[in-house]
């Protein structure tokens, strides 16, 4: 067991204003399967937003996103549609 708890436990200590109506991340599942981007996205994301599925598709837990942009930087072109959450939503750092 990691020293400060699992990643989901750590994220639970953060403050989020979750946007229930709109996800700021969309995956083009065909492109994800074609480029096998799932395992890569799963690894690089420190918030474990992405989970690679056996069929090559990618599950997205956008509410956990820390908005760093790493996934967008490494994803093969066409796999991700990623922008920031709407104003006032998403992670709200209290320390930073």
């Amino acid at each position: 067991m990691p020293l400060l708890g699992s990643v989901p436990e750590r994220l639970a200590a953060n403050h989020y204003d979750v946007d229930e109506e709109e996800s700021h991340i969309e995956v083009d599942q065909d492109a994800a399967r074609r480029t096998q981007a799932g395992p890569l996205l799963e690894r690089v994301c420190a918030a474990r937003v992405y989970t690679s599925q056996p069929d090559g598709s990618v599950l997205v837990q956008a509410a956990a996103c820390l908005e760093c942009g790493t996934c967008l930087a490494v994803a093969p072109p066409g796999v991700l549609r990623w922008h920031y959450p709407r104003g006032g939503f998403g992670i709200a750092f209290r320390e930073g």
Binding site: L3, L4, V44, L66, G69, T70, I91, F93
Partner: protein, 431 residues
């Protein structure tokens, strides 16, 4: 020109955005500062050491007035291995007089900066995401946020490392992965007295650790540990090309750091306050050679790629402030003359090149290349530990002079003496 609402729109209430907005409001211009977080600082995260001398130019008495954590008077540079570490521990009271660097937590610092802006007459608009620049015939004339349009004579993009505005303007193309690194950071609560005792500090003194080697599992980049007043900022910075090639997960590398024998005793008993991550730019000097302006637009701070990693110091916030001062000077001149053309915006470039920001980016132009060496992250640490092990491990074999001990350590290392000499020479010239 009839519906121009503001002289300046600044996008992003980080250090660059707040400094630019404050300066321009002080100079008598109407300024709006737009921030997508629900409050300034809500989206911002930094490692935490701020070489803050530049802030005295904007906010006299900054260190006394602003919510800073501790004054860095001790710097530790550590080469970590699985079971050993070689550390240079530099402590100097001169670093506190005058104050040179402080630790900060951005949620607190940035909201203070935004308050200063408000007091200077800036209209601060939190909770608004800017979607794009408004363009008319190649001239930037404002920004669009949802259905709202805000017109301005000058737009300053301080929207951070991912700057979608700089991308839209064609200033920031898709970055190659070797130019980027992801920082994964935990803020860990520990009682003040425990921190002072554990790190041998008194009063508001603080320490900054920079670590390379096994602490990132050999991935290019490094780890850091900074003392705040009653917490520690601890994390890894992983260059994206090497992280991808390693096949490792960023959060697991961060966990490896927490459990590392050099780190675990320092955080023992701590409680997690916050877990966050942030993208940073590694190739700062190269990035800064790009253009930073369009007619009516200037790009500052992280959005412009202004960061400097020299291996020993990691800087971004001071460059953000320096670039904002340069941009504000140019914007002020442009607004007064009414010339908002490309040529007027490029005064920012001249101001920047003439400041410490331009000078330091030029001085450290070769640092990113030096920091590409795998030698640094994988082989140098074990070698240094082997030499010292040979010195301190009295196993009853006859003692040898340092040169003999070093020679046999090099012989059993995968690194050749020539490679080492080249690395050393390159360090002296690049850093």
């Amino acid at each position: 020109m009839e519906d121009e609402a503001f002289d300046v729109v600044v996008v992003g209430a980080g250090i660059a955005g707040c400094v630019a907005a404050y300066r321009l409001a002080e100079a008598g211009h109407s300024v709006v500062l737009i921030e997508r977080g629900s409050a300034a600082g809500a989206k911002n995260l930094s490692g935490g050491v701020f070489y803050c001398r530049v802030m005295e130019q904007v906010f006299p008495g900054f260190v006394r007035r602003a919510p800073v954590e501790r004054v860095i008077t001790r710097n530790c540079i550590s080469m970590t291995n699985a079971t050993s570490a070689v550390t240079v521990d530099y402590r100097d009271e001169r670093l506190a007089e005058p104050v040179n660097a402080v630790t900060v937590l951005r949620a607190r610092l940035d909201s203070w900066l935004a308050e200063q802006c408000e007091e200077a007459g800036v209209m601060v608009m939190p909770g608004v995401r800017v979607d794009e620049l408004l363009l008319e015939g190649g001239q930037v004339v404002g920004v669009r946020a949802g259905d709202d349009e805000l017109r301005a004579r000058v737009v300053i993009a301080a929207d951070g490392v991912n700057s979608f505005l700089a991308r839209q303007a064609g200033i920031r193309p898709t970055e190659p992965l070797e130019n980027l690194a992801v920082g994964v950071k935990s803020v860990i609560r520990l009682p003040r007295e425990v921190i002072e005792e554990r790190f041998s500090l008194t009063g508001d003194e603080g320490v900054a650790y920079a670590m390379v080697g096994d602490c990132t599992q050999g991935i290019a980049g490094g780890a850091f540990l900074y003392t705040n007043t009653a917490s520690l900022s601890l994390g890894v910075v992983l260059r994206l090309d090497d992280l991808v090639a390693s096949g490792r997960s960023s959060s697991e590398v961060h966990d490896h750091l927490l459990a590392h024998p050099s780190v675990a005793p320092l955080i023992e008993g701590g409680e997690l306050l916050e877990y966050g991550c942030h993208l940073t730019i590694e190739g700062g000097p190269q990035m800064a050679r790009r253009d930073l302006t369009r007619p009516g637009l200037m790009v500052v701070g992280d959005a412009a790629g202004l960061t400097l990693n020299t291996g020993l110091t990691i800087r971004g916030m001071d460059l953000a402030a320096g670039s904002a001062i340069a941009a504000a000077t140019a914007a002020d001149r442009a607004l007064r003359s009414g010339d908002l053309s490309q040529r007027a915006m490029d005064v920012y470039r001249t101001e920047l090149d003439g400041s410490f920001v331009g000078a330091d980016l030029a001085t450290y132009a070769r640092a990113p290349h030096f920091l590409e060496s795998a030698l640094l992250y994988r082989d140098a640490g074990p070698l240094a530990a082997d030499v010292l092990h040979g010195v301190f491990d009295h196993d009853l074999t006859p003692r040898r002079h340092l040169v003999g001990t070093a020679r046999s350590a090099v012989k059993s290392s995968p690194v050749s003496a020539a490679q080492l000499a080249r690395l050393g020479l390159s360090a002296l010239r690049s850093l």
